[in-house]
């Protein structure tokens, strides 16, 4: 009988809050960052094989898709870092009030984009 009872709907009906949205993004960017770091490592290793392999990657990164990829990486890292700082404060016991956590959440979201732009400018020697 018990197994026949349905499960009440959960993620399908539950509203997203700023904190839950950031929490899941934190996870996704975390996984992405591991993949990205691994890729960067492979790229670095490929330097050992000389010019050709280096230019292969470079040409990709210079393409439109490659630029999109790099900016994506910058955002992913920026978001992860800022969100992690938010977690540090939580671990020390601060910032649990709904209002504070909402404000810090918005700061993380906007901050991640600002940081991405900064990294972009830094990389292009525009700063």
């Amino acid at each position: 009988m018990k197994d026949n009872n349905p499960l009440s709907p959960h993620i399908q009906i539950y509203n997203w809050h700023i904190s839950s949205l950031i929490s899941i993004s934190h996870r996704i960017t975390g996984v992405l960052n591991i993949v990205i770091i691994t890729l960067i490592c492979f790229w670095t290793i490929s330097l050992l094989f000389g010019n050709v392999s280096y230019e292969l990657v470079l040409n990709f990164l210079k393409s439109f898709f490659g630029k999109f990829f790099i900016i994506g990486i910058s955002w992913s890292f920026s978001f992860q870092i800022l969100s992690e700082i938010r977690h540090w404060f939580w671990d020390m016991g601060y910032g649990f009030e709904i209002k504070t956590s909402n404000i810090s959440g918005i700061l993380v979201i906007f901050g991640s984009f600002i940081l991405t732009v900064l990294i972009y400018f830094l990389g292009r020697n525009l700063l």
């Binding site: 026949n4 349905p6 009440s8 399908q12 539950y14 671990d91 016991g93 649990f96 709904i98």
Partner: protein, 257 residues
């Protein structure tokens, strides 16, 4: 484990539509999750047109009105109707809360009412909380002291008593635990915000002599550390308490003591 989709027997179907018979001009559509254990059918959403001119202010009043005037087969829990007993905890407008304290005027558009999320449904809006109660029992929520046979008062300073503020008010309505995605995916092992807040309530009580044991018992990868500070618990609590902070306080105690 994470399972985004509902099992086959839990997929929601379209239900009945109850048209307004009062001829009122102030109508609100109320969509309610229904499941009848006697039929063997899948759950459905019934829609009721409710005359809001003759309905008091809370969501529970709507449910009472539907049960009294439109469809007496609707099942839900309720008792005190002023936010003290925690019986009428349910999911309204995508957020958990107590039907008796949630004003329907806060909800724009149709009102969607579901049982508390990710529970076995017993009937309509009634979810099965027996696992949560078992977990509550497991933190031994009572005072452990050697002063049982003392005939004197067990004195607590004002400061120590103040540490229980924001904890003792919890009515165990389960709004927080059933709002927590971690509890959805690992509800059999992770204790969840409600039970952890209760655990902390006894850990921090100056009169309790079992603090070390309590901390040791709760310090578990699954029981405690499944909390990833998603904050849905604190956002959901109808009493304005902060389970996320209580859990963080346990983690902090474990890290610093």
């Amino acid at each position: 484990m994470v399972q985004i989709n509902l099992p086959k027997n839990s997929k929601i179907q379209k239900g009945n539509y109850y048209k307004d018979k009062t001829g009122s001009k102030n109508i609100k559509k109320v969509n309610i999750y229904r499941w009848d254990p006697s039929t063997g059918k899948n759950p459905r959403i019934d829609t009721y047109e409710v005359d809001m001119d003759n309905c008091p202010s809370k969501v529970l009043d709507i449910l009472n009105k539907i049960k009294n005037e439109i469809d007496s087969s609707l099942a839900y829990r309720r008792s005190c109707s002023h936010g003290v007993c925690g019986s009428c905890a349910m999911n309204m407008d995508g957020k958990n809360g107590l039907a008796c304290t949630k004003s329907h005027s806060e909800i724009t558009g149709d009102i969607n009412i579901y049982p508390l999320p990710h529970l076995k449904v017993l009937k309509d809006l009634i979810g099965d909380l027996s696992i949560l109660y078992k977990q509550y029992e497991s933190v031994e929520p009572w005072l452990k002291t050697s002063k049982v046979n003392d005939r004197k008062e067990n004195i607590q300073s004002k400061e120590d008593r103040a540490k229980l503020d924001g904890l003792y008010e919890c009515i165990m309505c389960a709004c927080c635990s059933t709002a927590c995605p971690s509890y959805w995916w690992n509800g059999d092992k992770y204790l969840g915000p409600a039970v952890l807040l209760q655990a902390y309530r006894w850990i921090i009580d100056s009169r309790d002599e079992d603090r070390k044991e309590r901390l040791k018992k709760v310090a578990d990868e699954l029981k405690l550390y499944r909390c990833h500070t998603i904050m849905n618990c604190t956002n959901a609590c109808p009493k304005g308490l902060n389970p996320a902070k209580a859990i963080a306080s346990i983690k902090k105690m474990l890290a610093t003591v």
